[in-house]
Symmetry: C2
Subunit: 273 residues, 2 copies
Amino acid sequence: MEHITSRRNETVRAATELRRAPARKQQNAFLCEGARLCADAASSGIRILSLFYTQNSAQKYTAYLQKIRLHVLEEEYLLEPSVAEILADTKNSQEIFCVCEIPQTARITAQQFLQQSAKGCCLALEQLQDPSNLGTVLRTAEALGIETILLCGECCDPFSPKALRGEMGAAFRLSLVRLPSLAEALPQLQRADWRTLAAVPDASAAKITETTFDVPTILAVGNEGNGLQQETIDACSGRVTIPMQGRAESLNASASAAILMWEMVRGNGDKNG
Amino acid sequence: MEHITSRRNETVRAATELRRAPARKQQNAFLCEGARLCADAASSGIRILSLFYTQNSAQKYTAYLQKIRLHVLEEEYLLEPSVAEILADTKNSQEIFCVCEIPQTARITAQQFLQQSAKGCCLALEQLQDPSNLGTVLRTAEALGIETILLCGECCDPFSPKALRGEMGAAFRLSLVRLPSLAEALPQLQRADWRTLAAVPDASAAKITETTFDVPTILAVGNEGNGLQQETIDACSGRVTIPMQGRAESLNASASAAILMWEMVRGNGDKNG
């Protein structure tokens, strides 16, 4: 095992690069931080290319490390704390890091998705900007059993350090489809037998509580500030809304996504209306 | 108007103190940061004791400042940017701050609450630890029209700078009841005609989707890591759960609170089961 003592070490430099989106895209890899998250990657079948840890973390997280080690494909590195620091994204780092391959299931193209037959319910996120929001939404999707998420337009990256922290490993297991433009993909999706619904804060739209989800459906949710793009709303086959009595504008992106996803899975055939 | 140029100015020091919980409790006041949030405090009828801003922010947020100024009870202060820095809780501060009185509606005692007749639905949060989670929960409660929240045990403070940022002003308008111990208060609440339900991740509990909310109900939700205390669960009149097909343990505190509150308000009489 190599012992890295210099902050200028090239292997560490290369791993640090993966904190930025372009490097992740180019290398098809990401940097995973934390004992639990790295162990979660291992048990979710993520290909772990290399493992980095400090002496201190080896003592503190022995059980996690044992689990991770069984899955390391290339190399293990022992780091000095000063070197671990430049890999860390959090203030109180656990000083355990893995360089992992982004799984096939997390980079499904529009073409691949269209080749599958339409079934179940998916969520499409358009231009979600905040990695913490994305993290919470993916985590909630997995909790509720929604297995496919479409990431559309300039959506933030589920493999950024901040998004990963909010996800509890959801991106390791969900099917993530990348669509450069949802509006442009909608006609094709509809021809492939997907019903497409736009979630809008508009009392004239169909109530989500009165909408059944017994046909394959893609529910599109917009970004934090501006919601869905008008062209996306227009290209969807219908519009749905969360009927509310309170101060509706206060509902944040991840809470409204939670309620929408919940209504998708909560039980068909039992809808009011 | 006083112009404050020294970071050692006593008025600024006293305002800075309000970033900490003990000072807020002692002085019954909080520090509000940001043009929009301060204006929101003003339009929500919060008593604004003093206003602080920089020359730069006065130019940038003229409309907000005009609105806030109409409500300042004591004094306005012009700050040098270096002084504003010590009041700021965010990296890119807007350099507008108000010292405000914590409203009566946000410090309802158990006794006061018990004197009101039981009606509607309330959420009780036991020992919620993360101010961002608390912020999101309060914001979601307001959005959904749930007007009373019981903050129980060592629950974090809704008037901390971090909680305030997530709340979108919800704490200015909600009724917030402080209970030192939920478990101990439950018998009294039940005698006062409240039904008390404990939210638990347990498939043997009643499904929230089959629970109607046509009687006055307090729904208790536990903290992020450990849920409700066992003695609280035992003292409640019933237990409810979110029925899930996915990876239920992945649901985070604010998402599960959103779904629970949604089920409380989503429409009685239309429940499945």
